[in-house]
């Protein structure tokens, strides 16, 4: 088993870069999982802002406006000094300060109220814009009732009643990935890390055996060519299994309960099949890699290319129809599709679509292996 041993010795020499990918992956998964969990708010709720109101109005409208704003926001004390007030605004201790002048009610009744209110705000603040909208809403509603013949008290009462009505907000479209378990996020990014680790690991270990002089030297030996190739194949499979086991062990440590559910089992199977596919892609890449630099480029091309196109990094729901159609020609699409279907199934009998995706991933594995074999044949012939 000299070839097998040499394969792993060479692989061991590349352990640093390979382990780096494991840790990067772990970091990204944990980060993505925690960030996306926070983003899982799918309900709408109004926001309450901090407002300071200085009401000097002697009439009732100023008081009612203050009452209306208090019902929707937090009223905070307004500093007396101008500088303190500006500091409070600057440090965002309050979002808006409203000054209602003495004769505001009279001016309102006379229809000359516009421009009489004074607001202090941070220029361009969206919070201030919201508050000004609320104020305008209230005053325009009161003005409308007044114009219809109501007295000011009646107009204010009805306006307050009207503005208490709340709209029901419902999302027409939801991102399907929202509200999914941690397991989903862990397995979502597997294609990228598997592709990169397989191409770099298998590539680095297989490359010396494929170099012209070493290949010729090995052919001179009494160990048959078939035996040597079998040992390399065994090395590749073993490496794939080790990578798979490391990731599954990580999954078990991070989400023990999830891994022993139907979803966990199917995700593990999906990852295993993709591992085989990544191995085939690596075998295919090695045929064209002349040195470590080309291998690096290939790992990025296949790793990032397949991941972006296949919906690993960008949700398939957010892709355009054309891009989604093109994505069907990369194996990661079928992996991601399986991953999404897995979250919906409750028993093995519902796994038809999952199995279909599994089969597609296997077909891709076969296709890349065959293409690699063909490229290898052509290379040997050209020698």
């Amino acid at each position: 088993m000299q070839v097998f041993k040499a394969f792993f010795r060479i692989l061991y020499k590349n352990k640093t870069s390979l382990l780096m990918y494991v840790f990067i992956y772990l970091g990204i998964t944990l980060l993505a999982s925690s960030v996306l969990q926070e983003d899982k708010k799918t309900d709408f709720s109004g926001i309450s802002l901090d407002i300071g109101v200085k009401n000097k109005d002697t009439g009732s409208l100023g008081k009612n406006l203050e009452k209306y704003l208090e019902s929707r926001n937090q009223l905070v004390d307004v500093p007396e000094e101008k500088e303190d007030l500006q500091d409070a605004i600057y440090y965002q201790e309050m979002d808006y300060v409203l000054l209602i002048p003495e004769d505001f009610t009279e001016k309102f009744q006379a229809g000359e109220w516009e421009g009489s209110l004074q607001g202090t705000k941070v220029p361009g603040s969206s919070s201030a814009y919201l508050i000004e909208n609320e104020i305008q809403n209230f005053l325009k509603t009161v003005s409308m009732y007044q114009k219809a013949g109501c007295d000011i008290e009646q107009a204010v009462t009805w306006s307050l009643q009207d503005l208490e009505q709340k709209s029901k907000v419902e999302f027409l479209e939801k991102d399907n990935s929202q509200g999914l378990p941690d397991g989903f996020y862990f397995f979502q990014y597997i294609p990228y890390v598997f592709l990169v680790m397989m191409i770099l690991g298998v590539g680095a270990s297989m490359k010396p055996f494929r170099e012209k002089d070493l290949a010729a030297r090995n052919k001179c030996s009494s160990t048959s060519f078939l035996k040597q190739n079998m040992q390399i194949f065994l090395g590749c499979m073993m490496y794939m299994l080790i990578v798979y086991i490391v990731f599954m062990a990580m999954a078990c440590l991070m989400m023990r309960e999830y891994m022993f559910t139907l979803q966990g089992f199917l995700n593990a199977a999906n990852a295993f099949l993709f591992g085989i596919c990544a191995l085939s892609v690596a075998w295919f890449s090695v045929q064209f890699a002349k040195n470590a630099a080309t291998l690096n480029i290939m790992s990025n091309v296949f790793g990032l290319g397949f991941s972006f196109l296949g919906g690993v990094f960008v949700s398939l729901d957010m892709m355009e129809e054309g891009a989604r159609r093109a994505a069907k020609f990369v194996p990661s699409y079928w992996y991601v599709t399986a991953n999404q279907h897995i979250q919906k199934v409750t028993s093995f009998s519902e796994c038809g679509k999952v199995y279909q995706s599994f089969l597609m991933v296997l077909m891709f594995a076969l296709a890349f292996f065959s293409a690699g074999l063909l490229a290898n044949r052509m290379k040997v012939k050209s020698r």
């Binding site: 040499a6 010795r9 060479i10 010396p208 002089d213 070493l214 010729a216």
Partner: protein, 315 residues
């Protein structure tokens, strides 16, 4: 006559229009250091690759240890050690790991292999470099590692294709001594080179290749006896007159004279006391002369006379 280790008969190998081997015939007997001498492109490496079944040939036969060699002749390959022209070692493995790897392709038993690997390290003088990676080795040490990888499993036939290319003189001497030592231990060696001095120094049998054909073969003495030249005499002489040059040309055994910039070169065919005859002529004519030295024919002279071109120039 010794046992035949390698027999090549009418071997023809074509690369499209180019004929790399043109009905080549060679026989290597047990215990020989067989030198394949020839300029680059003369077919040495192609012949080696055919012996190792690395190449398919168009015509003829190659027998190793009495059997036709095929790509799957693993029992025969077990007895062959190979040192290819380009250093073929793993950059990612240390000196010891490399030797162990190649030895392990032939020797399965762990204990025997360990012993052989150690012996190969000592033989190649790589004791102090066993944990070095090839990148850290000098050109000479790298060549020695290449040889150690090829001979570690103690083969009966060792094929070395230009093992001293780009090697410093110290390492070259060590390699040549090593080859002689391996031969003394019982290995038959096929050694290719375009350095005639090396071939002359170590080979008991020599075949000269040119354009894929064996133009001459035999011991170095036999090869030298094939050509007209027996001796080349150099004399430092000033103001030699044309009639004197003509007189020298008429001396016994002299067949060619060249006088240029005060240096007279005289080619003599095989014969005794050539130098004495020439010096007698100079003394009798009272012609003064400076440095005098005589050269015996080299393999380059053999190659020159047979092919009409210099071996060195063709390299």
């Amino acid at each position: 006559m010794g046992k035949k280790v390698v027999e090549i008969e009418n071997l023809v190998k074509r690369y499209k229009e180019l004929i790399a081997l043109d009905h080549l015939n060679l026989t290597v007997e047990e215990g020989e250091i067989f030198g394949l001498l020839g300029p680059n492109g003369s077919g040495k490496t192609t012949a080696i690759n055919c012996i190792l079944a690395l190449l398919h040939f168009d015509k003829g036969s190659v027998k190793v240890f009495g059997e036709e060699i095929q790509p799957d002749s693993y029992e025969i390959k077990k007895q062959i050690g190979v040192v290819l022209q380009n250093v073929a070692v793993f950059e990612e493995l240390t000196v010891q790991e490399n030797i162990d790897y190649f030895c392990g392709l032939y020797i399965q038993d762990k204990r025997t292999r360990k012993k052989y690997v150690e012996e190969a390290i000592v033989f190649s003088g790589l004791e102090d470099f066993r944990n070095f990676y090839p990148k850290k080795l000098s050109g000479g040490l790298l060549r020695r590692l290449n040889i150690a990888c090829g001979i570690a499993h103690k083969p009966k036939l060792i094929i070395m294709d230009e093992p001293t290319v780009a090697v410093d003189p110290q390492s070259r001497n060590r390699i040549l001594e090593g080859i002689q030592k391996l031969n003394q231990q019982g290995a038959t060696i096929i050694y290719t080179s375009h350095y005639m001095e090396e071939v002359e120094q170590i080979c008991s049998q020599i075949a000269i290749l040119d354009k894929g054909r064996c133009v001459a073969s035999g011991t170095k003495e036999e090869l030298k006896s094939m050509i007209k030249m027996g001796e080349k005499i150099h004399l430092e002489v000033w103001n030699l007159q044309p009639f004197q040059i003509a007189e020298i040309k008429e001396l016994r055994h002299v067949y060619q004279v060249n006088y240029q910039e005060g240096m007279l070169e005289i080619w003599c065919s095989g014969g005794k006391h050539n130098l004495v005859h020439i010096l007698d002529y100079f003394n009798s004519r009272e012609i003064g002369f400076g440095r005098v030295y005589s050269e015996l024919p080299t393999l380059n002279d053999v190659f020159l006379e047979i092919t009409g071109k210099e071996l060195r120039d063709s390299v």
